[in-house]
Amino acid sequence: MNERVIEKLSILADAAKYDVSCSSSGGKRKNHNKGLGNAEGMGICHSYTEDGRCVSLLKILLTNHCIFDCAYCVTRKSNDIKRAAFTVQEVVDLTINFYRRNYIEGLFLSSGIFSNADYTMERLVRVAKKLRQEHKFNGYIHLKTIPGASEELIKEAGLYADRLSVNIELPSEKSLIALAPEKNYSEILLPMNNIKEQLVQAKEEKKLFKSAKDFAPAGQSTQLIVGASSENDQQILQLSNDLYKNYSLKRVYYSGYVPISTDNRLPIISEPPIIRENRIYQADWLMRFYGFDVKEILDEHNPNLDLDIDPKLSWALRNRHFFPVELNTADYEMILRVPGIGVKSAKKIVSARRFASLNYEHLKQMGVVLKRAKYFITCNHKSLQPYDFDSQRIRNKILFGDGAVRSPLLTQQLDLFRQVG
């Protein structure tokens, strides 16, 4: 293995790492031709980076040469960095050999834009085509679509890729104009809409003819950068909500802005907004799996998520009139809204109460976090919480524990009395 490939890999993996998506799930590609790989069913994380993110795919740029100058991007043309470019064959070899050793589930290929959009897109497609046709590769392939690439190329990409994505990056048109002068919203949303229509069409054809060709069976996703521009959480989540509903996206990823640039168009921050990013993910989960409407999570009075507590608890504390919930009779949908009860324990509760009336010991065994849930539930109309606390008090108790309502000084004094007594 020559020195040059090692250097290219270090440059082009480093340049791709700010794209947070690494999912390899949702594919339906079976190893039908006695080839290499199988991408049906669940995704697999083969490793985790030291920052705790899943490593599932070989995530690289084909090149970091770029004609665009987006302020937030490490690859922008005005940035003075080392540049490199893989050949198509080099990417194919790395993918196949990493896959054979069980390092990865497949390839996530993106690229800086060199020459023009179609020229770049055409090369990405060529990698995928070569893997599928010459190497009978049935592992996962995620291709980034290059803004401005032609409809034909995107269509072809969808034949070989399991997932396509178009990154929006900036959550509003205003920010996009300020920070990414060569991009515009319509150019981003157009391919997204294209992909959506192809997805719908492929699904329809599949219903009629079993032999119809698959188009990106794992759907499409996008990424929003959090903290590089001034949008509040409500604007970000409203945008995600629209994307899920109108463009039938599988996932919206959020990337806390890592201060990689000294460009004066960007805010000066010292570290990435990791907690905010985490809260936004939790809110995204509430919309997708917990039946929450975006308007329930945030509104004009609460435009930003509470950084200290998760959005579900936050909602529960603002909506005390729904509680307490009697777990032996409440609907599944309502049980799911109780802080401290997740999808799995909610399902167990609904299933188990057909056999016997549930008590708190059962709940504990089933994985309910009573420390949080106890303020919001009753079991056989009994509560573990004899006092009717206000929301602020519950918030404090959950945050600082039961003992924390007393000042440390007072606790110390009580201990003294006990010793004397």
């Binding site: 293995m1 890999l9 079976k30 290499l36 199988n38 705790g52």
Partner: protein, 258 residues
């Protein structure tokens, strides 16, 4: 006290259930005959595995339980933790003695235990699909060496057979001293005359291809460069890959020189 012994196989355990029902004598303890201590009080019933009896019990279970529950029961067998036989016995007895399907009855301890044991086994299975690394030998075999917490080899056969249809590969469990081997047509269980040692199972230099070292090196380079130092979070990192799995992972080994 009523001790039952069996030969340690899943069929043996099912046979045991059959005999317990036939005798109407219920076990208070079940042990594999290889490890059983003679009972101090009462007698020991030593069950001889009978495939027909085992099949009848299994058929009865199929009529009462879903495929998922049957799978969980088998996973509990592969779990191998102390007392697993009694959990399986209690679960099966509850299934036979109840008029309705007991699967969702998490108020019964054995139902919850089977579910939890199966979950642990399933998680280990998934990890052995994720954290296993193959090394290419000079004769073209892709070889991996593992020592899982539970007996998950039987569960990962299908995954790797589908995945690597075009390469010869083997996975060897150094704790339980057997492996699985795919020869381009079928996957079989294998044992070695001289059992490989425990540990990482790094191939000796003469058995490895030169490409093998190169790709291990490239993987380390990749791993180092996808990391974002500004987000460093060792606690989260370790929660995802507990330290006991690091021995399998070339990216967690000292950096290879060029």
């Amino acid at each position: 006290m009523q001790l039952y012994t069996y030969d340690g196989t899943f069929e043996g355990l099912l046979t045991l259930l059959f005999e317990a029902y036939e005798r109407k004598v219920w076990p208070t303890n079940i042990e594999a005959e290889q490890t059983a201590q003679p009972a101090l009080f009462g007698q020991t019933i030593a069950v001889v595995t009978d495939n027909d009896k085992a099949a009848r019990v299994w058929k009865g279970l199929q009529q009462r339980l879903s495929a998922t529950a049957l799978k969980q029961l088998y996973h509990t067998y592969l779990w191998e933790q102390p007392g697993f036989e009694m959990v399986i016995y209690q679960f099966i007895k509850l299934a036979f003695d109840s008029n309705e399907n007991i699967e969702g009855n998490y108020t019964a301890p054995c139902v919850l235990q089977v579910q939890q044991a199966a979950k642990q086994v399933h998680r280990e299975k998934h990890r052995m699909e994720a954290f296993v690394r193959f090394q290419q030998t000079t004769d073209g075999l892709y070889y991996a060496h593992i020592s899982p917490d539970f007996n998950v080899l039987p569960l990962i056969v299908s995954h790797f057979t589908k995945r690597y249809a075009d390469q010869r590969w083997a996975v060897y469990d150094s704790n339980r001293q057997y492996g699985i081997y795919y020869d381009l047509s079928t996957t079989r269980f294998i044992t070695f005359d001289a059992a490989p040692r425990k540990g990482r199972g790094e191939l000796p230099a003469h058995a490895k291809t030169t490409a093998e070292d190169a790709y291990q090196k490239l993987w380390q380079v990749y791993f180092d460069n996808v990391n974002i130092p500004e987000r460093k979070n060792p606690k989260l990192h370790q929660r995802h890959i507990p330290k006991r799995y690091w021995k399998y992972l070339s990216e967690k080994q000292p950096r290879l020189l060029q």
